[in-house]
Assembly symmetry: C2
């Protein structure tokens, strides 16, 4: 499995593009993205569990009910959520893209991201769809990645190459997500393409299984968005024997998907709104999987731990505190905590109590851009990993006046 | 029921004091507090549900197992949590206070607040306990309130007068709490005194019932502390017939307790770490009580809503988003949302969709220090109230380097 370039266009048969159509005022910001597969592709998705759902989610769900799709259209700048005419706009976006691409509107996946509860018009999309479709190319993955960004400061794309039954396959993904990130059985906007052949049912199984260990273990701010979704399209252009049952090929596919998803998770966490640091909580020694996940996630969600990491302050008591209120049970007297980064590793708590440590070294370790919080519960064999970021002045700044 | 002055010394038979004993470096900050009742008092308490618990909690629990106590000793600057010698220190604090006061150590309630996992010594307490006890007075309530403060910027005390069976009774309370506040079946540090006579069993019943509607509906930052407790002492000095069963007298007592607790909740929320605004979510029209509470609390806990309130930005989509992920079910299409303050009231969302509103007026309303977020689910008869604060640069600043 090796990293390659090309994002969502790395896999055979996919083209993409992103343009500025006018939903956002800043003309240099692409606000409309398209991913297109030459062939109808098996398609699977997971969605936010928020009761308040963006209109595009219901439309997408209906369109991929048959397990297939051929294009993904997505705008940024307006979430198309809590709008009276939301479903109409979402259907309209699909119709406009379908007409221009010469495909069935029911094969278009639609997504929106941006401010909730703002009126939305089809007009800018109607004018933007022509250059968007005309400009589709195998080099357009980065434009699509830009087109879905909101408060993201960097575009997020990844691609890998792997083999299924001796056939070279590729998989790539793009993601947007910076605030309102606290997935719960679903996630932010992530679009993944692969030329591997796999049945819609197994594609859905792979995706639903993997998000539990990846996007559902990611939190920026504890706010689960209304518009989150992860969509995977698999068009089979690589030519492998279509994966129709669990087994070795499916396992390789799962590994590839996990590798793409973990890479995107880390990119999203590291680019959390206002974030200066990526936090990874690697938890071991839990008595069961549920406990491992709950506790790892509780640590990366703690505002106090996040603020301490911003200040490079080895205030491990906050890690213990977050473990204690996670809702899962563990024997507090067995917990060990270490902080680790490129600069080294330091033990700060053993068997639930503080140990003397070198504050200067701790400061050095915590001043890095990627911090690992290593927690060993010493109570079993299960482990989990969760991703988050520090809490900074800029998170507050970005969100104090987001609309205007 | 009228507000009076005097805090925890407003009720007959209570004296208090607070001194600087040296746990904190800043010599002008009182760090040791004492509340003393002339008579042994019925005593009830609720504690944090965090698995990681400060050593003082277990000691206090044992000491009031018989339903009575006579003094409360509390230090700030060190939480006495995750220390190998924690229980010894907590017992030691009780013994020192008991000796000086000439009472049984098993009648002393002990509490600590401050940094977790720092070594603690009895030495400063041993030297501070003499002036602390010698200085006890009926005017010392404010000193005790200061003694328990950590990052609090204002001391929090309240007192009221009410009648039980024609007898004038008084109740007063002090609280500390500014960060790590997200109570779950318990709360931050709150000490309440009353001269009303009530049996220990009914006192516990009143307290356990009331915190569900008061301190458990309060959140500053989503972090449930390890050291939270609320303790009430009722010494009977007012001379009312001791309340031994539910009925009219008990109801009056419950009202008095609720009034003190709501006042302290509002003080704590308004003085949340870095906060510039008190947020009160008043939710109506829920189908059941659980739903009302979950949703009201979800709104005041949302980092994004809190940051928008800091920016006086009427971004009501974040309120809808928080309602949607609360975990309780409600029909999103029926939700109305208004913002209200001294400057007026404005409707921003009706039946789950945005309505046109005057942005200038909204800005004016949200620029006040106390903001009410009014949510009507229009789905039933239940209501709830939750308290929180805005999320500001200063929250991050305070917590980025708390220890050093």
């Amino acid at each position: 499995m090796k990293q390659i370039s090309g994002g969502v266009c790395a896999a055979k048969g996919f083209r993409a593009n992103g343009v500025h159509c006018g939903i956002r005022k800043n003309r240099s910001k692409r606000d409309l993205a398209l991913i297109f597969s030459e062939k109808r592709a098996a398609c699977a998705a997971v969605y936010t569990t928020n009761l308040v759902k963006g209109a595009p989610l219901a439309v997408t769900k209906a369109h991929i009910a048959d397990g297939y799709a051929q294009a993904i259209v997505c705008n940024s700048g307006n979430a198309n959520t809590c709008n009276a005419n939301g479903p109409e706009i979402a259907e309209g976006m699909c119709a406009l893209a379908a007409k221009q691409l010469g495909i069935d509107a029911a094969d278009v996946v639609v997504a929106s991201t941006g401010v909730i509860g703002q009126k939305m018009s089809l007009e800018p999309i109607g004018s933007g769809i022509i250059p968007l479709c005309e400009g589709l190319s195998a080099e357009g993955g980065a434009f699509a990645a830009e087109g879905i960004m909101t408060t993201d400061t960097v575009k997020k794309e990844v691609a890998i190459e792997f083999e299924i039954g001796g056939v070279v396959c590729r998989m790539g993904g793009i993601a947007k997500g910076s605030g309102m990130i606290h997935p719960n059985m679903a996630t932010m906007l992530v679009f993944i393409t692969t030329d591997a052949g796999i049945s819609p049912a197994l594609l859905q199984k792979a995706l639903s299984g993997d998000v539990k260990n990846t996007f559902n273990m990611l939190s920026i701010d504890g706010d689960t968005s209304t518009n989150d979704m992860v969509v995977v399209m698999a068009n089979g252009c690589a030519g492998n024997a279509e994966i129709r049952e669990e087994g070795e090929d499916f396992n390789v596919f799962m590994q590839a998907l996990n590798s793409v998803n973990v890479a995107l998770c880390r990119m999203i966490a590291g680019d959390g709104e206002g974030a200066t640091k990526l936090l990874e909580c690697r938890l071991t020694g839990a008595s069961d999987e549920e406990t491992a996940k709950k506790i790892a996630k509780s640590v990366v969600c703690s505002s106090l731990t996040k603020a301490a990491m911003f200040g490079a302050d080895a205030n491990w008591g906050r890690v213990l505190c977050a473990i204690g209120y996670s809702g899962a049970y563990t024997d507090v007297g067995r917990i060990d905590v270490c902080f680790e980064s490129k600069k080294g590793k330091i033990s700060v708590c053993e068997s639930g109590a503080g140990v003397d440590f070198d504050e200067a070294l701790a400061k050095q370790i915590l001043s890095e851009k990627e911090i690992d919080i290593l927690v060993n519960l010493n109570s079993g064999e299960y482990s989990a990993c969760a991703w988050g970021c520090d809490l900074t002045y800029d998170y507050v700044k970005i969100n104090a006046d987001y609309r205007t």
